[in-house]
Amino acid sequence: MKKLIILSLMVAVAGLAYAAEKDAVHSIEIPVVKTELRAGEGMDTTEKYCSICHSLDYITMQPKFPKATWTVEVNKMIKVMGAPIPEADAKVIIDYLTAQYGTGG
């Protein structure tokens, strides 16, 4: 009987230790939320480069900006935030953003 109690206690302690160990790891899974960009010339290029670092809702949440502002933003991504976007593609992206998410001029 005594042995049984000790054994049960050992199992309980092991169980607690296991629980503590398991509880020590805190994990979550971030949901994937799809954002569709508006169809238009340059959409694929925009999606390809911008989504390396961030989801596309970063684009769709912005107010409508003139071309000058979108130019500043894209250049900021390249020069300040380290986005590897070749100059020719940057132009395509700026034109796309201005046409689809800007004031068009």
């Binding site: 949901p31 390396i52 949440m61």
Partner: protein
């Protein structure tokens, strides 16, 4: 309506943009180029989705009817894509080093051995209210829900730094977390504080929010709390504290999160400041929560106008309310005082006796007389928003 009162909200309404408010907190959905979506992230309730990678989630205003913002409703804001999603607390260490007598590697148990400090403090994103800027500015297009009032528990940063021992010549202290940039060219999120600020009594490394472990998205297992200052300094999932004998030169302090070096932290709309300084103390602000902007009120039926007010750590002296667009101002009753870093609720009993449209306004003043502007103060990054806002209601 005079041109300066002709807000962007009114403009868009006049322009016939989407007139419908979203279901949550009367948020003006028409401010945005897209429909605001709700999303449920782990350990969170349905929040307004700004971005998903990295996550930026905004609290619906209705949660601010409560004195304390529930953990699952608190806003979320990360900067760089590779955020921590799994942390083994037994393995996690907070490293303290640099210009110190000794290097520390604190486990969670070590952190909990320091004196336990608990207080309630408003946490607010530097860009809260950015979507209200005119002309608009680029960035996280927050409404007013990038804030919350939370009871934090942790160890004093000062006690931790003293335990490592600051060497002579210390200038700054920098803070890094477990989040990592998606590319080596992207600047890692590291923040710094001047050493004298870091050694103030009320900064803590918090391991609990509202009596529970931090949610992963709010900085599990521990984050810096700099009460009274904007949340950009409240580094999440803290892993490294580095004491520096030279001024910190990192991108997120030297280039980003800066405000014009003017008394108001503002410049004429659309212009570039000559000189900037790192953003710091929060400006005094208030917000009417109830009734919300989409409310229809009943003639002669009493209604309690309720909201929240806070300052950059100096406590709220009073909050005045106007029901006629700012012509007459009335004193309000302030709710429970949970300390100078917490927000105060304010209440004003009103019985509308004429039908029509009313502009409700609230204006807070802190204990040294700092109050809120009637016109939005503008700066290029969209920070420090604290304009006296108008809540339009209709009495029928």
């Amino acid at each position: 309506m005079s041109p300066e009162n002709f807000s962007r909200r009114n403009f868009l309404k006049a322009a016939g943009a989407v007139a419908a408010m979203t279901a949550v907190g009367g948020f003006p959905a028409q401010l945005f180029a897209y429909e605001r979506r709700m999303a449920r992230f782990p350990e969170k309730t349905d929040l307004i989705l700004l971005t998903s990678r990295p996550p930026q989630l905004e609290t619906p205003l209705s949660y601010f009817k409560e004195m304390i913002t529930p953990n699952e409703a608190l806003f979320v804001r990360w900067h760089i894509a590779n955020i921590p999603t799994s942390v083994d607390v037994n393995e996690w260490r907070l490293k303290v080093g640099g210009n110190t007598e000794k290097e520390l590697e604190l486990s969670m148990a070590d952190l909990k051995k320091f004196e336990k400090v608990t207080f309630t403090a408003v946490i607010q994103c530097s860009g809260n209210g950015r979507s209200l800027f005119v002309p608009p500015v680029a960035g996280g297009e927050w409404g007013d829900g990038a804030m919350g009032n939370v009871t934090w528990t942790g160890a004093r940063l000062r006690d931790i730094l003293n335990s490592a021992g600051l060497k002579a010549g210390t200038v700054d202290v920098s803070f890094n977390g477990l989040d990592k940039p998606p590319l080596p060219t992207v600047p890692d999120l590291v923040k710094s504080l001047p050493a004298d600020k870091a050694m103030e009594e009320d900064l803590i490394v918090a391991y609990e929010m509202n009596g529970k472990p931090l949610t992963m998205l709010n900085g599990f297992p521990a984050r810096l709390i700099v009460p009274g200052w904007y949340a950009t300094y409240w580094v999440k999932s803290l892993s490294d504290i580095t004491v520096l004998s030279k001024p910190f030169e990192g991108f997120w302090v030297k280039t980003a999160y800066r405000i014009p070096e003017t008394d108001c932290g503002c410049v004429p709309p659309g212009t570039t400041p000559k000189k900037t300084v790192p953003i710091n103390r929060m400006t005094t602000r208030s917000l009417i929560i109830d009734p919300s902007g989409s409310s229809e009120l009943t003639l002669n039926k009493p209604v309690t106008i309720m909201g929240v007010a806070f300052s950059g750590g100096r406590g709220v002296q009073d909050v005045l309310v106007s029901v006629d667009g700012g012509k007459r101002w009335e004193e309000t009753r302030l709710g429970e005082d949970k300390g100078k870093y917490s927000w105060r609720q304010f209440f004003y009993e009103w019985r509308p006796t004429k039908p029509g449209r009313y502009d409700l306004m609230a204006r807070a003043t802190d204990t040294i007389g700092e109050s809120q502007p009637f016109e939005g103060l503008w700066n290029p990054a969209g920070y420090l928003w604290n304009k006296v806002e108008k809540t339009e209601v209709v009495v029928k």
